[in-house]
């Protein structure tokens, strides 16, 4: 048992897999000597050397393209996109090349690679350094998407992503980097595609992801004191999507809410809600509400950004009002 921050958990997970498999290599901007701008790769250059931990120019298309070329020829690259917003400059490589090549070649090409990225808001960095892009990836067939919410899960899900034979996007949430957690010693490997019930309850199902998980849990505590008993599910992975856990919970609670950091339209919550509207419509006992950031870019100003992202207060009041109205 060692106490690790979420940021340290990233390096722990990658290091564990690099020890195990010499074909695991890393590339990205400032990941080596600097240990990453978020210090998530600290110590890895020293442990594994410059051949396996490669600093790159500011060339995201080349970083992701090189990762793909390496993956199709026997390596298991772990590429970093410093901020998830930078998927924009490499989107062709991710959405058109990496996601589609196995399919287009009828399985001739395998792409066991990971793209890690600092995702999400709350750091007052403004609209071009705060986005939640997990939905961009979720909408593209051929990509798996993971977004851990705790240090221990970061280690195990990072390891699972690196071992997975398909391309996996790992979203590291900027607002969680400082979070601390007791992490078991020894090898940790989670399974991709399993959600986790973080709080069990009977009155409503609340599905959240990454930094929205602690906020949903805080809202649940607040409502508990009012006698409203929420079940909070951390989705953890968007592809594969663990709908069985969500649907089982809805059967129990008859109410569904999502808490999404992403802008309003077409988020992962819309997919979860739509599946429920097809497969659990008769179990639902009231309006299904998505609690999201409004459909606007994120502001740099703390007052404005706090007004945009779902807060425990907004989560609690939305759920309270909805449940009362549907009594």
């Amino acid at each position: 048992m060692a106490e690790l921050t979420y940021r340290q958990a990233v390096a722990r997970g990658i290091g564990q897999e690099m020890e195990r498999d010499p074909n695991v290599v890393m590339l990205g901007e400032d990941i080596g000597a600097a240990g990453g701008v978020f210090k998530t790769t600290e110590g890895l250059l020293e442990r594994f050397g410059p051949d396996r931990v490669r600093d790159t120019p500011i060339s995201e298309q080349a970083i992701i393209g090189a990762a793909m070329g390496a993956a199709m020829t026997g390596l298991r690259p772990v590429a970093e996109l410093m901020f998830s917003d930078f998927f924009g400059v490499a989107w062709d490589m991710v959405a058109n090349q990496i996601a589609k090549t196995r399919y287009m070649t009828d399985g001739q090409v395998s792409l066991p690679l990971v793209i890690r990225t600092a995702n999400g808001g709350g750091l007052r960095f403004g609209a071009q350094h705060s986005q939640s892009i997990e939905n961009w990836a979720m909408a593209i067939p051929g990509l798996k998407v993971v977004a851990p919410s705790t240090p221990a899960e970061m280690v195990g899900l990072m390891a699972a992503a690196i071992r997975d034979p398909d391309p996996v996007i790992v979203c590291e949430h900027k607002a969680l980097f400082a979070d601390k957690d007791d992490v078991p010693d020894g090898e940790l490997v989670e399974e991709l595609g399993r959600g986790r019930v973080r709080r069990s309850g009977s009155d409503a199902t609340v599905v959240a992801l990454a930094a929205m998980v602690p906020r949903a849990l805080a809202a649940a505590e607040a409502l508990a004191s009012e006698g409203i008993d929420l079940e909070v599910i951390d989705l953890r992975s968007l592809v594969p999507l663990d709908m069985s856990t969500v649907l089982a919970s809805i059967e129990k609670t008859a109410h569904l809410f999502t808490v999404e950091e992403n802008p309003r339209l077409c988020g992962w919550g819309a997919e979860v809600v739509s599946i429920a509207a097809e497969e659990a419509i008769y179990a639902l006992d009231g309006p299904v509400v998505r609690i999201t950031t409004p459909h606007v870019p994120l502001a740099a100003n703390p007052v404005l950004e706090d007004a945009q992202m779902p807060s425990p207060e907004r989560i609690a009041s939305t759920i309270r009002t909805t449940l009362e109205a549907s009594r």
């Binding site: 490669r54 070329g69 026997g74 062709d92 399919y103």
Partner: protein, 339 residues
């Protein structure tokens, strides 16, 4: 300067008889296969799209014959020639184009994405520029694994103006990756002359210095000159001396794709280039070198027969099973996204 190096390398290459015949046969396979493909496209048997390299065969043949079996080729949607030049047989390719069972990629990719990993044909890429960084990655992988494999990446003149070109060239040089970038300068993007949209005269060669590279230009219609350039640059990469950027000056006889007649090109220009057709030119070289007419004729007959056989197979093969439309998204063979 380019020409010297080329000549030097050419003589250095010391082309023997078999190699010359192999280059001729490869060019002929490309030519006859694509001519028939075009006829079958107009007849509606080949569907979707095709981008022919008729007129550019010397580039594929000159490089293909200079590569080791385990080297990597990366090419574009105009990739029939490069795929054939790595030894992939005509039948599975034609089956892919007509969309029948037994196709090279099960019909999933189509003409623009021909791939045969077992032959080192690592894919045909249909988004301009994308495969340059990918080729750098394959070269980096070979370097890391210590296999002294080389990656050769073919692309067009128009591709030199897109961002991925710049990023790939810089990274390849910084990492000293064993990759050879080959620009097939056929003078046109789709319908727009490259000269009208490019800041320099030679789209690739005039960019080489920006990456600390030598400006290498070769006559892309002279298969032996191309082969010499291929030997020079592939060997350099294999030795660990890093990447090269080659501009092969050539021309496509037909239009950009599908049924495009290519009428946006001046007649005299087209005529002049048709007169420089690499295949008759090489045929003359072979005869001059004392190779018997009969031997050349036999190659031509064998190649015709191979094309006919591929066509027969293509016409007889059944349509694919619709159920395969959702296979091979993931390594487990399926496409499940729920758990």
């Amino acid at each position: 300067m380019s020409t010297d190096t080329t000549d030097a390398a050419a003589s250095a290459a010391g082309l023997d008889r078999d190699l010359r015949l192999r280059m001729y046969r490869t060019m002929l396979e490309c030519r006859l296969f694509e001519q028939r493909t075009h006829e079958l496209f107009l007849a509606g048997l080949v569907r979707g799209t095709t981008h022919l390299g008729i007129g550019q065969e010397a580039v594929a043949a000159g490089f293909g014959t200079a590569m080791r079996a385990d080297d990597y080729t990366f090419c574009t949607y105009r990739g029939h020639n490069h795929t054939l030049a790595r030894g992939v047989s005509m039948t599975p390719i034609l089956l892919e184009l007509v969309g029948r069972q037994g196709a090279l990629m099960g019909g999933k990719g189509g003409s623009m994405h021909l791939t045969s990993v077992e032959h080192g044909a690592m894919g045909s890429y249909a988004i301009v520029g994308a495969h340059l960084p990918i080729a750098v990655g394959a070269a980096w992988s070979a370097q890391y694994r210590g296999t002294d494999q080389v990656a050769v990446c073919f692309f067009g003149d128009g591709t030199t103006n897109i961002g991925a070109f710049h990023e790939a060239l810089n990274l390849a040089v910084v990492w000293k990756a064993p990759v050879v970038f080959v620009c097939e300068n056929n003078q046109y993007m789709e319908y727009t002359p490259i000269r009208s949209v490019t800041a320099v005269e030679r789209p690739a060669a005039d960019r080489a210095a920006a990456y600390g590279l030598e400006d290498l230009v070769v006559d892309g219609n002279d298969v032996e000159a191309v082969h010499a350039m291929a030997r020079l640059t592939v060997d350099r990469a294999r030795r660990g001396d890093g990447p090269s950027l080659v501009e092969a000056v050539t021309y496509r006889h037909g239009g950009h794709s599908r049924a495009d007649p290519g009428t946006y090109r001046p007649d005299e220009e087209v005529k002049a280039w048709l007169a420089r057709d690499p295949i008759p030119a090489q045929r003359a070289v072979l005869l001059k070198a004392g190779i018997a007419e009969e031997e050349i004729a036999r190659i031509e007959a064998e190649t015709k027969a191979a094309v006919a056989e591929a066509e027969r197979a293509a016409r007889e093969a059944p349509e694919p099973d619709p159920a395969t439309a959702t296979t091979q998204v993931w390594a487990d063979g399926g496409s499940a996204w729920r758990s």
